[in-house]
């Protein structure tokens, strides 16, 4: 469903991503891994429209057959039309707003349409109120799913770290994505929270949403991924199932840091 072809991203003279191609299949959990500075987040930012790729293409195909050239769409449309949602490495919640409001903001586009571009909402017309009730119900379901129903009216910034991570995922899911991109969702979580996260991600996959994730926690990656792409120094060095990747000598070399010198000496 997502196909990245010959993606290259340059920052001045630096090639952060160099000729990377991979596919993420519908319904799969695809993981992008690699050492620090490998270009994982840059790939993500290209896919979600925060960077415009220097070269190469990114194409998304919905189950309906609709086709989106993500590399040429304005950033917000990738989310609103392409239905690609994302979370951030450093959590970006609306900290000064309540948990519930965070989830309502995520439903901005359908609610905005229902509000007749604000006019119906200001006048308090019934159609808008029904749409808002629907939005609240959806938010309630997600809060229930991530176990934050009792904190719906608290400020998002006041939640514990693990809960903020889960809320950010729920917020992304509220745009009804077909592809959810997660940037290090397990970073800073304790083992119990990581376990809950795994289950949440699996259940999102069960709903029919495809996932693309960047992760350092190999426990998470190996257990839940269907497909792994390994980057190192901006280049793809391996691509396959968890078992294949684990056995790949290039991956082991990149992660354990034995590499060029040894090979040259040999």
């Amino acid at each position: 469903m997502l196909s990245v072809t010959a993606l290259t991203m340059r920052f001045g003279g630096l090639k952060a991503v160099d000729d990377v191609s991979f596919e993420a299949r519908a319904g799969d959990i695809t993981a992008v891994i690699g050492p620090n500075g490998a270009g994982k987040t840059t790939v993500f930012n290209c896919i979600t429209g925060f960077y415009r790729p220097s070269e190469g293409g990114i194409a998304l195909t919905h189950a309906s057959g609709a086709h989106f050239p993500l590399d040429r769409m304005p950033g917000y449309r990738i989310a609103s039309r392409g239905k690609v949602a994302r979370t951030f490495q450093n959590i970006r919640l609306f900290a000064g707003m309540t948990v519930l409001e965070n989830l309502l903001v995520a439903q901005h586009n359908p609610l905005m349409r229902a509000s007749g571009f604000t006019l119906a909402a200001v006048l308090g017309l019934g159609t808008f109120r029904a749409a808002e009730r629907h939005g609240m119900e959806k938010a309630r379901q997600w809060l229930d799913r991530i176990g934050l129903l009792d904190r719906a009216n608290d400020l998002a910034g006041a939640l514990p770290y693990g809960a903020q991570r889960r809320l950010e995922i729920a917020r992304a899911m509220c745009i009804d994505p077909v592809l959810l991109c997660l940037d290090e969702p397990a970073a800073g979580l304790n083992p119990r929270e990581t376990e809950a996260l795994n289950e949440l991600l699996k259940s999102i996959q069960g709903d029919g949403c495809s996932l693309l994730l960047i992760e350092h926690d190999m426990g998470v990656v190996m257990r839940i991924s269907d497909h792994i792409v390994v980057l190192d120094h901006g280049k793809k060095i391996a691509d396959g199932t968890p078992a294949e990747v684990r056995a790949d000598p290039a991956v082991i070399a990149a992660y354990l840091g034995e590499g060029d010198e040894d090979e040259e000496a040999a």
Binding site: Y76, F88, G96, M97, L100, V105, H108, T118, A152
Partner: protein
Amino acid sequence: MKHALRDAGLSALIALGLFTPLIGLVTESGDHGLELRARPIAVVVVVSLVFLGRLLMLTRAARIAVPTLAGPSPAMLRAGRAVAPMLLVFAVLLPFGGSRYYVDLATLVLTYIMLGWGLNVVVGLAGLLDLGYVAFYAVGAYSYALIAEHFSLGFWTCLPLAGILAAFWGVLLGFPVLRLRGDYLAIVTLAFGEIIRIVLINWVSLTHGPNGITGIPRPTLFGLAFSMDGGEGTFAGFFNIEPETIQRVIFLYYVILGLALLTNWFTLRLRRTPLGRAWEALREDETACRSLGINVTNTKLTAFAIGAMFGGFAGAFFATRQAFISPESFTFIESATVLAIVVLGGLGSQLGVALAAIIMVGGLELLRSFLSFLADQMGSELFAGIANELPLYRMLVFGVALVVVMVLRPRGMVSTRTPTATLAPLGGSA
């Protein structure tokens, strides 16, 4: 204690340096032009006030630091909820009890409240720092004045036009500054405010330049004019009463009260719409907004447009009240005052803005009149002197008030935020 004394001494020294030229020296017109006169006693009084104040602050520092962290107590919240209705009742009843002086003052305060509420949409909700808000006030005022002059349309026809034109200029300003944030945005808006003023001064053929526009028509009550002849078709003539100026003054007061309440109602309503929530989300995190598919450009533009529209309404009112406008009324100091009101009151808080406007605009004026009243009663030179000079220190008082509020309540006088939606507790609804 020794440390505190030293610190207070240091503060007094700084105050001495600051206030010697500010307060210690006055220029007076004497026999040979301006003469410089020294006022050592005034400086001594102010400096010792600073010394004592600092000492008091240091010895009680622990008590001052605590309340900023703790949230408001339930009792305080209850009292806070009562403030707004009380203010409203007071505002509605004011013309029945007050003299013309108070009604005039309240009209001025309400104009600033309305401007504050309008700017609150841009700065408080959408988080876009706008230092040139007065530009829209000017656009509104000149729109009304010029349309009335050239097409002889009445106030009520021109009011929406003034709002629309101001909103249009808001969008026009919005376009080039969309990519800017924070300080950069502030500088460009500041420049925009100045550009509008300078165009008004120099486009003499249209705006009459620095001479301003005179004879701007007054508003009518359903076609009834407030003129002094008391004839047919005037307010006094229709109700068969003596025509008096106070009738028009009170009518203008109710017009601005209505406009301000409309602004408030509309803003409160907007906050609870998806658009309003998107504004607040934009203030919190623009990047996250984009990742959720919110069109950041349009959202910012609507904030600019709606904020500007209210500024335009207030401007049209200002023009009709004064019956005379000139570019001098739309200087940067007005933008700064309105922004100070919004920041002091608490970004995003409607009640806070109202309170801040009352204190900053009304409070100072009341203090002045109270002091001159005292001076008259007691024949005191000192009070009369302070009362006469108080307007000169207006900005100093503003500055001190800002510093004090920012130290004690960094998020403004009213910093509580009402959520735009709440989820009923479990079991409350099916």
